[in-house]
């Protein structure tokens, strides 16, 4: 164990965990990374491409190396950063991206082959033979170069989603975030403070004496005050991962990831936070200095080394060295020295830099040794090199403000020469103010003041006056940084640890003219790993700037997209899976249909009865054939509630409908129904349905099931925006009425048994009539004499809660009439047999003329789409809807097949149309279809070939009328 004194771990609570099957002990307050270091485990993973041994280099969410798989079975999650995995009793972690053991990874052979894997290698190699890419090269590359593995099992965890609103969102709970939240909350604003850590304090927890009093005491005092402020919500373990439009931020709260037994708790919650202002106090990330072989386990960021010592009471080794170009590295040396860690040397290239109690060398680190972990470093000073024994090396090249979220709206960071770092530039999320280290304030004192002032300014914008709180005295040391972006040398020096990008790769990109930052990124994959280059981007850009001789500012930087840190897809889904993945709408007769053993089909969000199998029927076709024949010979009943219904009222209702339908509706008589066709603005057919006039100023419009929502929205747009002068009111009534189609020669007889004294005779209630009436002893209902099947048919509507009882009643009392329920399959067969267009025919490419309804587009009035329906291209359209029937009745008709003249080449040039709908017709005794055919009217009776190249099918069809049933239309009028 390499535990030190002090720290913020609870030594009274020991936790047992495993890593690669071996059992270890840690303490409450540890992360997996700190606990592994405390157990002298420096080797935590293998690198992405070369499978080099890797250890932890950071102590926070920026960690690129120490990625592990946590948990097991279906719960297994890959690519978890050991630095943010909160330790709990029983935690099981495994290393990843290896073949064999972590200590002996067979794929480490890649490292020997590294000359072949330089930047852009996959753009240059594996080009031939082309067919090998998908089957051989890509799988092999994915196997060799990868991260963790997926279980391929459904995620068994539960996830949640929620919505929060506030005046001020403070992102980050370090020095600046705490004073910002305190300032704003004391002023009475609604404040949310979110921090990704499980403990508030940020870097205050990582420093030995940042304040004039113990930092934990000051934090505890603030937390106590926070607890008494109802207008402040503190969200620990919550990562704000993205800024979106209109002050919306995405955040993931890790509710139970840290619990050994989560019980019924969700794993994570996705929060959508809407805020008027936000303060980005996400701190800064230390950058390293690339030098030869700088990736051995034990080489880490100096600030992380200090954090492990101060917060987690652990040192990665008993003897360590520091390589720094600024005063922060010396702070690490001092802190570790104070805790009894031997400082082998501090290597600092700045002249006259030194510290008390340890050896300082003005030079550079130029090499390392140690097979699975650092054992020695090579230090070069004044042209002479020496090897120094040490088990760990802390590296500090300065700090990069964490401005990722500030660039989520394409805000482009700008280079700050004084800070030698990129800071947030203009164009970022409106209302987002960087504070503390994020704004380049490098000392604790500056951060404390900066957070409070940022909050004061943000609230002033909102008209809220805030007073700056009394702040403790804090360290206020400058970094005194002298830029050092890499140590020149011949060996590989890593810039991006996670994607195995070296200084050499950047040089190669430069030589191959991939110099713009976006090209550099894609050619080398710099910054493209799961860490988004938090520890590497700026260093890589600086190396490129050095090569091109340009400034870093003119070299520029890539920008960032959400998420700030990886977010599980499951939590983005908000927890809705399986049957609850989307709303499930049930028809009013669903219960009854279920009891009849109906098979259901998803139609959009609706579950509709597809068919009603009976005992002895072994295929769906048998069932559907029976239902079709029962309807055509007796009476069939189908729930058609899903069709959209819109109540249209007002003095100008008729005029309004005249403008949205291509045919006339104002002239419709009260008590009558008319088929209606709506066109899009471009003149193509959009949706069809019926329009019933129930009263002088009241119509009920129906739409197709698929377009119920869009047509209603369209009509509201027309009403509110196009013609606000019209006196018309709209409201959807789709769900309010259970509507049943009652079709077949016995339909009238059956309905006569339920209507209350209503005369259904042809004379009193003819085809296309409608009426309000009552049924079954006083139940208010609506009756429409309309037919989709070509039979004598009605649609009867009752309040939805009675739909179940009504269909049960109709089937019961209609047994002697052959009353038979039917589903959507039979509905389809009946309408194809009758030649009625449906969704397949109204696919957005069809015109009224193609549907045989060209003359419906009234020229006596204007309506949406009417003018453009008469444009040259549409008028010249020669394809029309026809019926199709196989010459050999045993042959199939397949929807989607294209139509060609017999003997003609089957290519686009000779294509004559396609089959839109097809079914087996028990009425005809063969398969039949509907389709659009060039000059179809003139081809009636002729033969044509339907080609289905996907299944190498060729079927000779006869072109017939689309009306296979009762072409004269006598039945519907009987």
């Amino acid at each position: 164990m390499t535990r030190l004194s002090g720290g913020l771990i609870d030594r009274s609570r020991s936790l047992t965990f495993t890593f690669d099957g071996k059992t270890y002990q840690g303490h409450a307050g540890d992360t997996l990374a700190s606990a592994l270091l405390a157990n002298d485990v420096r080797l935590m993973g293998r690198s992405f491409k070369y499978h080099r041994p890797r250890g932890v280099i950071a102590s926070g969410s920026e960690e690129p190396n120490a990625l592990v798989e946590l948990r097991g079975g279906a719960w297994q999650e890959p690519n978890t950063r050991a630095t943010v995995a909160e330790l709990f009793d029983g935690l099981a972690a495994r290393s990843q991206n290896k073949v064999g053991s972590l200590g002996f990874d067979l794929l480490a052979v890649n490292d020997l082959l590294s000359p072949f894997f330089s930047a852009g290698f996959y753009y240059k190699t594996f080009m031939w033979p082309r067919a090998f890419w998908e089957k051989l090269y890509e799988p092999a590359i994915r196997r060799a170069a990868g991260l963790g593995s997926l279980t391929h099992e459904p995620d068994p965890d539960a996830y949640d989603a929620g919505f929060l609103h506030c005046d001020l969102l403070v992102i980050g709970g370090g020095a600046a975030g705490l004073t910002a939240a305190l300032t704003a909350a004391r002023a009475g604003a609604q404040v949310i403070l979110a921090d990704e850590d499980f403990r508030l304090g940020g870097r205050l927890l990582a420093e030995s004496a940042p304040l004039d009093r113990p930092a934990t005491d000051w934090i505890a005092g603030i937390e106590a005050e926070f607890a008494g402020l109802p207008n402040l919500r503190v969200m620990r373990r919550t990562t704000v991962w993205g800024a979106f439009d209109h002050g919306i931020y995405g955040a993931v709260e890790r509710v139970s990831d840290h619990l050994a037994s989560p019980g019924k708790r969700v794993r994570q919650t996705l929060w959508r936070i809407t805020t008027k202002r936000a303060i980005l106090a996400s701190g800064a990330t230390e950058r390293h200095i690339p030098f030869a072989d700088n990736d051995r386990p034990g080489v880490m960021l100096s600030g992380a080394m200090r954090a492990y010592a101060n917060r987690w009471a652990v040192s990665p080794a008993k003897r360590v060295a520091i390589f720094t170009n600024n005063d922060d590295g010396h702070r690490t040396a001092r802190d570790l020295l104070a805790k009894g860690v031997e400082i082998a040397a501090v290597i600092d290239p700045r002249p006259a830099a030194s510290g008390a109690g340890y050896r300082t060398i003005q030079g550079h680190v130029t090499g390392t040794k140690g097979r699975l972990g650092l054992s020695r470093i090579e230090v070069t000073a004044n042209g002479r090199s020496e090897w120094i024994d040490c088990g760990a090396l802390g590296v500090s090249g300065g700090w990069n403000p964490n401005i990722q979220i500030a660039s989520h709206h394409r805000g482009r960071p700008v280079w700050h020469d004084g800070l030698q770092a990129f800071v947030a530039g203009p164009g970022g999320p409106v209302g987002l103010i960087p504070a503390g280290a994020t704004s380049g304030q490098s000392s604790t004192a500056q951060a404390l003041v900066s957070g409070a002032k940022a909050a004061q300014a943000a609230l002033a914008d909102l008209g809220i006056t805030a007073t700056l709180p009394d702040l403790p005295q804090a360290e206020d040391q400058a970094l005194n940084l002298k830029p050092l972006w890499h140590v020149p040398g011949k060996s590989r020096a890593w810039v991006d640890f996670q994607n195995d990008v070296t200084v050499k790769d950047i040089k190669l990109a430069y030589q191959e003219n991939m110099r713009p930052v976006e090209h550099l990124k894609r050619w080398t994959t710099l910054g493209m790993a799961t860490d988004q280059g938090k520890t590497s981007n700026v260093t890589g850009l600086a190396v490129m700037a050095e090569l091109t001789g340009q400034s870093i500012q003119s070299t520029g930087t890539t920008i960032f997209r959400p998420p700030y840190t990886p977010v599980a897809l499951s939590v983005l889904g908000g927890g809705d899976t399986g049957t609850h993945f989307r709303p499930r709408r049930l028809t009013p007769t669903h219960d009854w249909a279920s009891r009849q053993g109906a098979v259901f089909v998803e139609v959009g969000q609706w579950m509709r009865a597809q068919y009603f199998p009976r005992a002895g029927e072994t295929t769906w076709r048998q069932t559907v054939d029976r239902e079709v024949l029962a309807t055509r010979t007796g009476v069939g009943i189908c729930d058609v509630t899903t069709l959209g219904k819109i109540d249209v009222q007002g003095a100008d209702a008729g005029e309004f409908l005249d403008r949205v339908y291509c045919n006339a509706m104002k002239s419709l008589k009260v008590g009558m129904v008319r088929y209606g066709l709506m066109l899009r603005e471009d003149g193509f057919a959009w949706d069809d349905g019926t329009c019933a006039r129930l009263a002088e100023t009241q119509y009920v419009v129906t739409t197709t099931t698929a377009n119920a929502g869009t047509i209603y929205r369209h009509l509201e747009f027309c009403r509110q925006c196009l013609w606000p002068e019209l006196d018309v009111q709209l409201i959807s009534t789709t769900d309010a009425w259970a509507q049943l189609s009652v079709a077949g020669p016995n339909a009238r007889k059956l309905l006569q048994r339920v209507v209350d004294g209503f005369d259904l005779s042809n004379e009193s209630f003819p085809f296309m009539a409608c009426a309000n009436l009552t049924v079954c002893g006083g139940l208010r209902a609506r009756l429409f004499r309309i037919s989709f099947s070509g039979e004598l048919a009605y649609e009867i509507a009752v309040p939805a809660r009675y739909g179940n009882a009504l269909i049960e009643r109709l089937i019961d009392i209609g047994a002697d009439l052959g009353a038979t329920p039917y589903g959507t399959e039979t509905l389809g067969v009946l309408r194809i047999e009758k030649g009625h267009a449906a969704g397949n025919e109204l696919n957005g490419q069809t015109t009224a003329q193609m549907l045989g309804m060209g003359r419906m587009v009234s020229t006596k009035k204007d309506s949406i789409g009417a003018v453009l329906s008469r444009r040259e291209g549409l008028v010249a359209e020669r394809r029309v809807l026809v019926g199709l029937q196989p010459v050999d009745a045993s042959q199939p008709v397949v929807a989607g097949s294209h139509l060609f003249a017999e003997g003609a080449a089957q290519d686009t040039a000779s294509d004559q149309g396609w089959i839109t709908s097809a079914c087996y017709s028990p009425h005809v005794g063969s398969a039949i279809g509907l389709g659009y055919l060039d000059n179809g009217d003139a081809q009636l009776g002729e033969q044509i070939v339907a080609a289905n190249p996907l299944q190498a099918q060729q079927v000779v069809l006869r072109v017939v009328s689309p009306h296979f049933v009762d072409p004269e239309g006598g039945r519907v009028r009987d």
Partner: protein, 182 residues
């Protein structure tokens, strides 16, 4: 009175209800609903309450109303599901549409703090500012619902009747998760 027996939106003969910790959830199958829209130039009818403005819900004797659009309201009649509301309310200058069966109503009761916490998980409204007398139409699990704060301790969610099962599931799940001890 019809001899047909109605069923509730959730499919039962009786309305569903659940007690989950401090929260009680209840399907209100008896709520009568009618939409009211004023025709051009028509004054608001005398209903015994002042029709509320945007975002508002108001309660009168035997009825309540919430704003749904410019010159439009939904009228609620507790226990009025069996009435012919469209006929009762019809009048000059008014467009009234029966909506009782268009929606399913779920009433949620519990301590105010619990309701605020629940709201945060249900819909994207500022729960703390959505006080008694508030009503809004908003997205809920990919659906559109009306949410009404009837009182500090009472909340209602009205959604498509056809999606009653989905809405109920989402409400129950949210309540159950809220009641899991921290």
């Amino acid at each position: 009175m019809t001899e047909l027996k109605p069923i509730c939106a959730l499919g039962g003969a009786e309305p569903a209800s659940r007690r989950i910790g401090a929260l009680s959830l209840r399907e209100d199958a008896g709520l009568g609903l009618a939409s009211l829209a004023l025709r051009a130039g028509a004054p608001a009818p005398a209903l015994g309450l002042v029709l509320p403005g945007p975002g508002g819900w108001a309660e009168g004797a035997g009825l309540a109303a919430f704003w749904t659009g410019a010159g439009q309201w939904m009228l609620e009649f507790p226990g009025g599901a069996g009435r012919d509301l469209a006929a009762e309310l019809a009048g000059p200058g008014l467009s009234v549409t029966e909506q009782t069966d268009g929606f399913t109503a779920f009433e949620i009761q519990g301590p105010a703090a619990e309701l605020v916490a629940l709201l945060e998980k249900l819909v994207n409204v500022d729960a703390r500012r959505f006080g008694p007398g508030s009503a809004t139409r908003t997205g809920f699990h990919h659906m559109s619902v009306f949410v009404i704060r009837r009182a500090p301790d009472r909340l209602a969610v009205l959604g498509m009747r056809s999606a009653a099962g989905t809405i109920w599931h989402a409400l129950v799940e949210a309540a159950e998760r809220q009641e899991v001890p921290a």
